[in-house]
């Protein structure tokens, strides 16, 4: 970090300032895709299949065109032919919709009704008559064929069988997690409008650049002519990472009809058409010496996928990385079924894999007669990243564990199950460690300073509620020697410099490093304006900083030139610097780029007579590297904790075994944690800025969820003596 921090109020980074976009949101002036209207705009509603496998033999829509307001009905027989969507990393694209009559899952898009109003389209969509030739659907995971994942190979180090053989204590068990559905408050949808070969789309994507790329390829138009707008979206949790079919449907219909088309999904459609966290099964074996030193870890996992979608996976990605065990093997498979597309959901894979591993470690601790915290501390590899042998760029997991234990009061825990009681309730204390891998993606950013002393940062990023607007504004204010109100961060427009997705907890890290690079280039641009007589003449970009509208010598800030004068001298009104993420090679850098670490401590109270469980206390300690804004980072951990409670106790998207239909796709039937389920959560950050990148951040969006389900499950065991290995843990499993 290169800013001079002597200004009043600075440094802004590290301060918990309010969201800069907050006033827009609370006054209703923030524009969302659902708010967009255009002259001549039509409304589209998706019709979905009522079988899971087969083909459409007849779909009669002629009668619908006589209904009031109905402008068009598209099916596979008349929808424009589309090019195959490109493959995008972590954003695997579903097959193009309405290209043939094949049905691959219950609830698949099979027709699109376009009308003058959403109500007219909704009613007509209800009346579409379809005749199917059903085929036997592959619905039972036991019937599916496990396949390796293309991007997550099996891993081996050492010899796990030897590690098993020499172990003094061994545990092995199967664990299961349920399908969970991303449920951002904002329904996903878009408005598509064409002008010749130019397409504008207002959407709810978390990744505008990937959507631009997909739309251009699918419709065979230049990428330069496709523009995606997403200044605001109502959350995402990963559901906005993929280039879902609804976007292609709206764009295809708009092109065919020559009018703008708006398409908003319904809540039940959100359970079918924008991804989910798939069900997973895990077999974990652990061996340890009598003193608790791990001798082997084996983690085999399987998740479900759809016929046309490779997988999400990452169930085992974190398993080899945290503990200094010499013998580790991970094997991960996916099983394709006639099911809807899975996708990323907050801490995809890691949340599930951590549940299995950290529950197994708790079982091992009990087999050893050892404190679960002590077992973690004995095995954490805090200096070296075990798979690569390189030093971690940062790792405060031990501190997370110790600080959490201190704040929670862990030393007062009686380890015997069912030993802590209170007014007829069984009290359980559980803990789990957490890890979420580092992720940096290519991002560009442009920083511009103006003659009036203000500045702008521009990048085609999104703020899904995480605080991107705010933290980049803070960072730029420090780098430019300005106050946040003098900096305007513009995002959510694919015509801005290309930026990474809001995903993998990587956007803040990626973007901040691009902004730092852009400011260095801005220094170069400004130095290029300096005349020969200036005391700044001949300095290099790293020798200067911007401060209060002046370009200053870094080592002597009083030596400076007014930026307004520099611009005026050349007849300019602004100067810009473009930057991008510069990714060091870990081997050359001599370190492994670390992700976030954490420790979760949970207290549950269980009424054994009626199986009622309440989470009473959570202490969540996280090493996220540099925390750009502690208020917003705390909000991220709080929200993720709520998600973790939901995953542990409530959330389960159920599928009818015979038909493949989503059985509970509404907010009345699919249970999310409500406020009354969430206790006081103590959020603590520890650790130091990460040394791998200049910004020092490690991401805070997902790590907060990881570890919460295992800590809850481990607390349930402590309370009841009952080891529950399948999520969600519900009332009927807890009556005693």
């Amino acid at each position: 970090m290169t800013a001079i921090q002597s200004r009043p109020g600075a440094p802004w980074v590290g301060q918990g300032i309010d969201r800069v976009d907050g006033p827009h949101k609370v006054t209703g002036t923030a524009p969302y895709a659902s708010d967009v209207t255009m002259a001549g705009m039509l409304h589209a509603v998706v019709v979905t299949s009522t079988i899971a496998a087969g083909t459409i033999t007849k779909i009669d829509t002629s009668a619908l065109l006589t209904l009031p307001g109905v402008r068009a009905v598209f099916t596979h027989e008349n929808f424009p032919r589309l090019n195959t969507p490109p493959v995008i990393p972590f954003g695997d694209t579903p097959v193009a919709p309405l290209q043939d009559g094949r049905i691959a899952f219950h609830g698949q898009e099979i027709a699109l009704v376009v009308a003058d109003t959403p109500q007219q389209a909704t009613e007509a969509a209800r009346l579409v008559e379809v005749v199917y030739a059903p085929e036997p659907a592959l619905l039972d995971p036991a019937d599916g064929r496990p396949e390796p994942l293309s991007y997550l190979p099996d891993t081996h180090r050492g010899d796990t069988e030897a590690g098993w053989a020499i172990a003094d204590v061994r545990v092995g068990a199967s664990y299961r997690t349920a399908e969970n559905t991303n449920n951002p408050l904002g329904l996903m949808g878009c408005v598509a409008a064409w002008d010749g070969d130019h397409l504008e789309m207002h959407d709810t994507t978390q990744w505008p650049i990937a959507l631009r790329q997909t739309l251009a390829a699918v419709f065979g138009v230049p990428e330069s002519g496709v523009r995606v707008h997403v200044p605001y979206l109502g959350g995402g949790f990963g559901a906005g990472l993929n280039q879902w079919a609804y976007k292609l449907l709206a764009a295809g219909a708009a092109r065919a009809l020559g009018r703008p088309v708006k398409l908003m999904l319904t809540r039940p459609q959100m359970f079918r058409l924008v991804g989910h966290r798939p069900d997973s099964e895990h077999q974990v074996r652990l061996g340890a010496a009598r003193d608790g030193t791990l001798t082997m870890i084996e983690h085999r996992a399987t998740s479900l996928s759809s016929l046309d979608h490779p997988a999400v996976g990452l169930l085992t990605a974190g398993t080899p990385q945290v503990y200094a065990c010499p013998n580790v093997a991970t094997v991960e498979r996916t099983v394709r079924l006639n099911r809807r597309y899975p996708a990323s959901m907050r801490a995809p894979g890691e949340a599930e894999g951590n549940w299995a591993l950290e529950t197994a470690l708790d079982e091992l601790a009990y087999e050893l007669g050892m404190d679960p915290l002590e077992l973690r501390l004995r095995n954490v590899s805090s200096v070296v990243h075990p798979p690569s042998g390189l030093p971690w760029s940062s790792n405060a997991l031990v501190e997370c564990c110790k600080v959490g234990a201190e704040v929670f009061g862990w030393s007062r825990r009686d380890p015997r199950p069912s030993s802590m009681r209170e007014d007829g309730l069984l009290i359980g204390w559980g803990m789990a460690a957490a890890f979420y891998g580092a992720y940096l993606a290519m991002s560009r950013a442009r920083v511009t300073v103006y003659a009036d002393g203000t500045a702008a940062v521009r990048a085609a990023a999104t703020d899904i509620g995480t605080g991107t607007y705010t933290v980049i504004t803070q960072l730029a204010a420090d780098l430019l020697g300005l106050s946040p109100h003098q900096v305007d961060f513009q995002l959510g427009d694919s015509d801005l410099p290309a930026a990474a997705q809001s995903g993998g907890s990587g956007l803040a890290s990626s973007l901040s490093n691009a902004v730092i690079d852009a400011v260095t280039h801005l220094h170069g641009e400004l130095l290029d304006l300096v005349g020969e007589g200036s005391p700044l003449y001949g300095l290099r970009p790293d020798d200067v900083v911007c401060r209060d509208g002046a370009l200053c010598r870094r080592d002597d800030p009083a030596t400076q030139e007014s930026i307004a004068d520099l611009l005026a001298g050349q007849g300019l009104l602004e100067a810009s610097g473009d930057g991008r993420v510069r990714l060091p090679d870990p081997a050359t850098a001599g370190m492994c780029h670390a992700g976030g670490f954490g420790a979760r401590y949970v207290e549950v109270a269980i009424d054994p007579m009626i199986g009622r469980l309440r989470v009473r206390r959570v202490v969540s300690v996280t090493d996220a590297g540099r925390v750009l804004n502690p208020k917003l980072a705390r909000s991220q951990i709080l929200g993720a904790t709520v998600g973790g409670i939901g995953m542990a106790l409530f959330e389960e998207t159920l599928t009818d075994p015979d038909t493949g239909r989503v059985a509970n796709g509404t907010f009345g039937d699919y249970l999310l944690a409500v406020s009354a389920d969430v206790p006081d959560v103590e959020v603590i950050f520890v650790g130091e800025p990460d040394r791998f990148t200049p910004a020092g951040t490690k991401g805070v969006g997902e790590i907060g969820l990881v570890g919460v389900p295992a800590a809850i499950g481990n607390a349930v065991f402590h309370a009841t003596g009952r080891r529950l290995r399948s999520l969600p843990i519900t009332v009927d499993q807890l009556v005693m």
């Binding site: 209800r126 009626i610 599928t655 239909r661 059985a663 249970l671 406020s675 009354a676 389920d677 009556v735």
Partner: protein, 329 residues
């Protein structure tokens, strides 16, 4: 867009006549069930007769009973001081039954008439639903069942009546006053609902054009205590997995008299008369409480997803009996 006629009459007779004259007409009160059903395409009336302007709002407190206008909201009834004094389990069921937003819209008459939350019933793309379409089958029996009934059901339909407040209202022998095309009549709640195993497509004894105008709720005598226990997965905003409404009068450590009804288990709110008879005049005995619960649940029809409810209902009742018998009046 599906068109329908909307009427908003001022008088009960007018409203009744309006619905009675049109086989596709229906009353609309708070709308917290009906509008959902219309949006889901499950229920498609051609004429909605909005009764919100009828003079059926308010609570008349008499010495032995409450006369509750059918349009009284859940919130209004919960806030009535006499309910807190003499019908605590009604108040508790109301507060546990819905969020404050819903309580301010939903009416007591409408609450008694709420339709089942069965997701198969509420999805018109599911063809097998004997409740919606007689003799079409029951997708829930072979499907994903959890929020379903185990009493008063069979393989033809396992729809649950999910009301909370109906459970204590039944326990105190409330009566509804009905205005219909043929005049007024009084129906005890114990005879109001029709069990699914007595005909899955018929939910209650109301005929077309019949309108509940009032619910008469007897007050518990002085010296009685009552309470409502609701067991559910999450802490709020969910229907009961099981619930128990218990009112009783103690005589020393003996249960002099009591009333019990169960929720979350029946195709109709379930009066547990067997349990009342087993426990009336007996001493406080947890083993006997459990036996009484088992007697009520003996006739349960379960599917894999609902089997847990039998034991949970027994536990819920036992716990509430323990709480009520231990409490100081």
């Amino acid at each position: 867009m599906r068109a329908f006629v909307y009427d908003c009459p001022d008088a009960v007779d007018e409203a009744v006549a309006s619905v009675a004259a049109d086989p596709q007409a229906a009353f609309l009160a708070g709308g917290t069930t009906q509008l959902d059903l219309m949006k889901d395409g499950v229920w498609t009336p051609d004429r909605l007769v909005d009764i919100s302007r009828l003079p059926l709002r308010g609570i008349l407190v008499e010495s032995q009973q409450l006369k509750v206008g059918a349009l009284t909201t859940m919130e209004q009834l919960a806030a009535e001081p006499v309910v807190a004094q003499r019908l605590m389990f009604v108040r508790e069921a109301l507060l546990a039954g819905a969020t404050v937003q819903l309580r301010n819209m939903a009416t007591i008459g409408g609450n008694l008439l709420q339709r089942t939350r069965c997701r198969y019933f509420r999805d018109p793309t599911v063809s097998a639903c004997n409740r919606r379409s007689p003799d079409s089958g029951c997708a829930a029996v072979d499907g994903v069942a959890r929020m379903h009934a185990v009493l008063g059901v069979d393989e033809r339909c396992i729809a649950l009546h999910a009301s909370d407040v109906a459970v204590p209202l039944l326990a105190v022998d409330s009566t509804v006053l009905v205005s219909g095309p043929t005049g007024q009549r009084r129906v005890p709640l114990s005879e109001f609902w029709v069990r699914a195993d007595e005909g899955p497509s018929i939910e209650n004894v109301l005929g077309h054009g019949d309108l509940i105008t009032e619910i008469d709720v007897p007050l518990l005598p002085n010296g009685w205590r009552s309470g409502y226990l609701k067991v559910r997965d999450r802490a709020s905003y969910e229907f009961a997995l099981t619930s128990a409404a218990v009112a009783l009068q103690m005589d020393g450590d003996m249960i002099a008299d009591l009333r019990i009804a169960l929720g979350g288990v029946g195709s109709v709110p379930w009066r547990a008369r067997e349990a009342e008879e087993m426990l009336r005049g007996t001493h406080v005995d947890p083993v006997r409480f459990e036996q009484a619960g088992r007697a009520v649940m003996a006739s349960a029809f379960t599917v894999p997803g609902t089997a847990f409810k039998v034991d949970l209902a027994v536990r819920t009742l036992s716990r509430q009996l323990l709480t009520m018998t231990e409490a100081t009046p």
